[in-house]
């Protein structure tokens, strides 16, 4: 039970981290001068935004997972290269990352061109402008939307149940199957996720306040 709780937290944390990284890099590549780079990013967004996350999860685990070579495990048998936790982390990061790219893009578009132009006139490189001017300003604009998406992401980690990641939901299921205490477990699960997401939201709100610029926006 505690183990499942930690798996959920671990899966959420890993996916939060990588989905934000994907969002930041994707939004940067979207501003590329190369047509094919932009097309690639847009294709990625379309693919992951327009398909159900459960289908994506199955696709990664059962389609790509079985194509990868297996490795010998401790008992001398064959194990897949990546386990269900790794596939859930990859799949959900890409899923939430697709939304994050769009969220960051909206933030980037809100940064006035004149501000980045001033940095350009001071001799900043494109990457320096993105990292020290565009991104910090875009982040502030994008935070409320990012907040929403990350909340969704934490809730979506329950899908990992489908490929037997021993998360909070999966372990709870084992408990109610063994003990026939379905009602209690349902109440517990609801509250557990309520508090978990509540902590995330409180943290994000605090972060949002700490980033507020005096006299701006």
């Amino acid at each position: 039970m505690i183990g499942g709780f930690f798996i959920t937290i671990k899966l959420s944390a890993v996916c939060l981290f990588f989905s934000v990284i994907i969002g930041v890099i994707g939004a940067w590549l979207q501003g590329s001068t190369f047509k094919w780079t932009r097309r690639f990013v847009n294709g990625y967004i379309q693919l992951f935004r327009n398909t159900p996350p459960l289908v994506q999860l199955y696709f990664f685990y059962f389609a790509i997972g079985t194509l990868l070579p297996t490795i010998e495990n401790d008992w001398g048998g064959e194990s897949p290269l990546l386990g269900s936790f790794a596939w859930a982390a990859i799949s959900l990061s890409f899923f939430a990352g697709a939304f994050n790219v769009e969220i960051f893009r909206s933030g980037i578009e809100a940064v006035p061109k004149s501000t980045t132009e001033a940095a350009e006139a001071l001799g900043y490189t494109k990457l320096q402008i993105y990292v020290s001017i565009t991104l910090p300003l875009a982040f502030r604009v994008a935070l409320p939307a990012l907040n929403n998406n990350l909340v969704n992401l934490v809730k979506t980690t329950t899908l990992a149940y489908a490929i037997a990641v021993p998360d909070l939901l999966y372990e709870s299921n084992q408990i109610w199957s063994d003990n026939v205490n379905v009602t209690e477990m349902m109440i517990f699960l609801l509250l557990a996720y309520f508090f978990l997401v509540g902590i995330l939201v409180a943290g994000m709100n605090r972060w949002e306040r700490s980033m507020k610029i005096p006299g701006y926006g």
């Binding site: 501000t115 320096q128 006299g215």
Partner: protein, 248 residues
């Protein structure tokens, strides 16, 4: 042929520029010597701002040549960093970085672009803010400063890069009348110290006072130019006369 200080610091030669169908510059030529203060005046849409934006390659040109200390700006392989170390620019809307304090705004570029160490960048940034009379405002964010104060931070930010020539693009146009004076005074101080300045301005009194040479543009060409005294008293071209009669 390498550039020497006896050559023009900025040499603009037969520059043509259009945005799509719209021709903005139709063969503009002018030279700016070291220490010169030149003012470009003219009606809206005559290409003044576009011209000075071309000098530091914020806009590219289709034809002609712009030499900054001998470096050709109209070049596909232009080293923009080298160019922008030489040319500072101040904008109409200040364009400060809103998430950085006044001091950070001034010290960021020297650290990131010139790779100065943080301590010395900070010392020079403080000195520059003092120079533009903003002592005590180091930790204020742009949103907490008045327009005139923000514009002076922007001037300090540009000076921190130790440019050889400064471009001012209608820097007082967005300010309320009370704060125009403080910004103009800062520019005047700079001009008196010998900074080479190219200003696009609507402040005729100021142009008359500080400029060594005035250029009047209309429809993408320089219609008339001369030292302020002759220019304002003895304008020859009917378009210049008409413009001056409307605003003086």
């Amino acid at each position: 042929m390498s550039w020497t200080p006896a050559d023009p610091m900025v040499s603009i030669n037969n520059v043509h520029k259009s945005f799509g169908e719209l021709k903005v510059l139709n063969g503009v030529s002018l030279d700016v010597m070291k220490g010169d203060v030149i003012c470009i005046i003219g009606p809206s849409g005559s290409g003044k701002s576009t011209l000075i934006r071309c000098v530091n390659a914020l806009n590219d040109i289709q034809q002609g040549s712009i030499l900054v200390e001998g470096q050709e700006v109209n070049d596909e392989k232009l080293n923009k960093l080298e160019l922008r170390k030489k040319v500072g620019m101040v904008f109409q809307q200040y364009n400060l970085f809103p998430h950085k304090t006044a001091l950070q705004n001034v010290m960021m570029a020297p650290i990131k672009v010139l790779k100065q160490n943080k301590a010395s960048a900070k010392t020079s940034a403080r000195a520059l803010l003092k120079k533009v009379r903003l002592e005590g405002k180091e930790d204020a964010y742009p949103g907490e400063l008045s327009g005139g104060q923000q514009q002076r931070v922007a001037i300090a930010r540009s000076l921190a890069m130790q440019p050889d020539v400064m471009l001012f693009d209608e820097v007082t146009a967005a300010l309320d009348p009370e704060t125009v004076g403080e910004v103009l005074q800062t520019i005047k101080d700079l001009a008196e110290e010998g900074m080479t300045c190219i200003l696009v301005t609507h402040e005729m009194g100021f142009a008359r006072e500080v400029a060594d040479h005035i250029y009047f543009t209309d429809r993408g060409v320089i219609v008339e130019h001369g030292p302020p005294e002759t220019f304002f008293k003895n304008a020859q071209d009917p378009r210049t006369q008409q413009f001056l009669s409307q605003i003086l």
